[in-house]
């Protein structure tokens, strides 16, 4: 063997749900690297594996049922195996993960792997489950019939890991034997003759090496499914599970979120006192720390969401959810697997978008990603809350249903409705494609592996922080600069001050005198931009001050509230529920000093705008990563902004026409 110091390359292949990821995690620890293969959206996972002292690069190929190269995943995997994938050396050994409870189908892929001339070692997983079902595999016999080493592995214990390493090392440099021969296919066996041939071989192998094809575990899963996929109860339970998950995310995230807020607040104070006052200090505390903090504060929610998604996926319930919802989703042109990502987007679109990886068809996946932000996420809540508290508090419909609740529901419904329409349109135009196969395995239920779940959660959250973080930092600085420059010099002469007081819309009805911050914002680039776009937003019922807040909120939705606080001189820290902000908004006047800047209709229009607009840099950053180009985030931004504008326009003008003012 040459190059004993050369690093080995080992590829890990296997069916989805076969325990491949768990094995990969246990062999590489948390040191894995996740990226995309260049130019495509297939995930590339690699990690270091120490084989009894020898270093190797372990590549986790995408989960596959076959290597015929008809889907993108299969093509990429093929390229990696033959050594044609840029940046990855041709594998020295392929470790084939085979689920012992699903032997026949798992072996199909293995028969294809034999044909690449690379030694194969089989890692047999789920042995504990298999043995509990009182089956027996004659591992020796299996190995002999397949002419390849077979190593049982259990993820929970370290069983088999050393043996696997040993067999892999021994296999390096050997030439594999194909254990079967293709007799000339019978003339009428058709284009699928090879598939039959493989399965026939597999059937014989399994027959000779497995005893008692019992279905104990299947019976348990079947009994569970009788309830969980029941025609009526199944759906009810699905709704229940979702409500539970969201409730948990909301309540459990509150405390950590508050903690994070205070940490970042403290950091801001610290940087202000530590640094000499001036641009740098403001840049760091108000630009960078505030900007990044505004996003990091969502980390608890995102972590929890990923946690629940992992658990649902690992336990097998996700497949059932897709099964239950597919009919509804396919009517709109979406895949059943789009259901959970879309539902998750109600908390935050970011984990939802990352969860679309389970959708195999690229176009279906992109369609789902593009409509995910229309599911009203939790960042919109402060905005809804403020609008409702200001103009709709205490009002009821039919005497007992609170107007606020009705409006909230209406906003959510609007989002869903537009998402459905958007999906429909997208699938007919930009993302038109023949419907891909739905055919999806319903794996038996199993208790999720805690380590895998936690590792998955941490890896994804870290990815979010890294990727979104850099973009957000950049844009936070830009936005801070827009509100910071040009520097406004407060006039010291009394006459100018009083004329400023009456000229600006900060007239006598304002509860508080103008603050330096509000004056600064008014005269900054952002303020000028607000003035500049005023003609555009006037048909929506907004004035330039609302325009400034709108511009700022394109970074992150909840920024609207804090920006309004500043503009109306209420103070930096007021939130959507503060009485002073609420009354400030109610009393705010337009530039003439008389007409109210806000009416119930304006408030409603703003809410509609927020339902439909793309106002989240983090989401755009994640979409960029998941689609591997800037084209899609820009398209998303474009179509949603247009949608928001038109929606708000219709709301405001329609409302005026109907007589509401």
């Amino acid at each position: 063997m040459d190059g004993s110091h050369r690093q080995l390359t080992i590829a890990l292949a296997g069916n989805p749900n076969a325990g491949k990821t768990t094995l990969f995690n246990s062999l590489t620890g948390l040191k894995q690297k996740i990226a995309n293969y260049p130019g495509v959206t297939v995930e590339r996972k690699e990690g270091p594996w120490q084989l009894n002292g020898k270093a190797a690069n372990l590549i986790d190929l995408p989960g596959l049922y076959s290597l015929e190269a008809t889907s993108l995943d299969e093509q990429i995997a093929r390229q990696v195996i033959v050594g044609e994938q840029a940046g990855i050396a041709k594998p020295d050994v392929i470790v084939a993960v085979v689920d012992s409870t699903n032997l026949e189908r798992n072996l199909y892929l293995v028969t294809q792997l034999f044909e690449f001339g690379i030694p194969v070692v089989i890692a047999l997983t789920m042995m504990d489950v298999f043995e509990k079902q009182k089956h027996q595999i004659d591992v020796e016999m299996l190995s002999t019939l397949l002419k390849t080493p077979v190593v049982p592995v259990t993820a929970k214990t370290a069983r088999g890991r050393d043996e696997l390493a040993g067999k892999v090392l021994a296999a390096v440099g050997t030439k594999p034997e194909i254990p079967y021969e293709y007799e000339e296919a019978a003339p009428n066996s058709g284009p699928h003759g090879k598939i039959f041939a493989r399965y026939n071989f597999i059937s014989r192998v399994v027959q000779e090496s497995v005893w008692h094809d019992d279905h104990e575990k299947h019976r348990v899963s079947e009994r569970i499914d009788r309830v969980l996929t029941h025609k009526f109860f199944g759906l009810a339970i699905l709704v229940g599970v979702l409500l539970l998950v969201f409730q948990a995310i909301f309540s459990w995230a509150q405390l950590p979120m508050q903690l994070l807020e205070s940490v970042f607040g403290a950091l801001q104070d610290l940087s202000r006192t530590a640094l000499p006052p001036g641009i740098l200090s403001d840049l760091i505390s108000d630009g960078m720390i505030a900007g990044v903090g505004g996003v990091v504060v969502f980390l608890p929610q995102i972590l929890l969401l990923f946690l629940f998604i992992s658990i649902l996926e690992d336990s097998g319930y996700m497949a059932r959810a897709a099964f239950l919802m597919d009919k509804l989703m396919s009517r709109v042109g979406l895949h059943g697997k789009a259901f959970l990502p879309l539902m998750s987007s109600f908390a935050c679109a970011i984990p939802g978008i990352m969860a679309t990886r389970t959708i195999e068809s690229r176009r279906d996946r992109f369609a789902t990603i593009l409509i995910a932000p229309l599911m009203s996420c939790s960042a919109r809540l402060p905005v809804y809350t403020l609008m409702i508290a200001t103009f709709f508090a205490g009002r009821t419909l039919f005497g007992f249903i609170s107007m606020g609740a009705v409006l909230m529901l209406a906003m959510y419904a609007l989002g869903i409705m537009m998402a459905v329409i958007a999906a429909f349109v997208l699938k007919r135009t930009v993302l038109k494609a023949p419907p891909p196969p739905f055919v999806m395995e319903l794996p038996p239920y199993r208790v999720p592996n805690i380590r895998t779940v936690l590792q998955n959660m941490l890896t994804r959250a870290w990815l979010f922080l890294k990727r979104a973080g850099t973009v957000i930092l950049a844009i936070s600085i830009i936005l801070w600069a827009l509100t910071y420059f040009p520097r406004y010099q407060a006039p010291t002469d009394a006459a100018t001050i009083s004329s400023e007081l009456t000229q600006g819309s900060t007239a006598v009805t304002q509860p508080v005198a103008p603050t330096p911050e509000s004056e600064q914002i008014k005269h900054s680039f952002a303020g000028q931009l607000g003035h500049a776009i005023e003609p555009v937003i006037r048909p929506l019922g907004f004035d330039w001050k609302i325009g400034v807040a709108l511009i700022a909120s394109f970074a992150a939705r909840e920024v609207l509230v804090s920006t309004l606080s500043i503009i109306y001189n209420v103070g930096k820290d007021e939130d959507a529920q503060s009485e002073t902000l609420v009354s400030a908004v109610r009393d705010a006047k337009k530039d003439d000093g008389i007409t109210p800047a806000w009416t119930p209709l304006t408030a409603l229009t703003l809410m509609v705008f927020f339902v439909l607009a793309m106002q989240c840099m983090s989401t755009l950053a994640v979409v960029r990563r998941e689609t591997n180009s800037w084209r899609w985030p820009m398209f998303m931004f474009g179509y949603m902004t247009a949608l928001a504008y038109v929606g708000a326009l219709i709301t405001y003008q329609g409302g005026k026409a109907l007589g509401f003012e």
Binding site: A186, H218, H230, P437, V439, M440, E441
Partner: protein
């Protein structure tokens, strides 16, 4: 591999499509028609002439259906099941 030797022993009289098979019944696959991705996918997952399949249930809105074969469960839409011809 003389695959078709198996087919000749199956009575060809009672051939229906899998999407027509009533929930709860089992059957043997006679053939998988079509040449597209769906057909290939179904076969690669193990649905080939000669094996036994059972329609376990249908989803609440009637679609998709859950089919049991080779010891595991597969969900597919009815229009995909149409490609599979079975006899019971």
């Amino acid at each position: 591999m003389l695959v078709n030797a198996m087919d000749s022993s199956i009575a060809q009289t009672n051939v229906i499509k899998l999407n027509e098979l009533p929930v709860g019944s089992s059957a043997r696959v006679v053939s998988v028609t079509g040449t597209g991705r769906v057909t290939q996918r179904l076969m690669e997952m193990g649905i080939i002439p000669g094996i036994g399949v059972k329609v376990v249930k249908a989803a609440p809105f009637g679609d998709p259906i859950e089919v049991r074969l080779r010891g595991y469960s597969l969900a597919m839409r009815r229009n995909e099941a149409e490609a599979i011809e079975v006899t019971c």
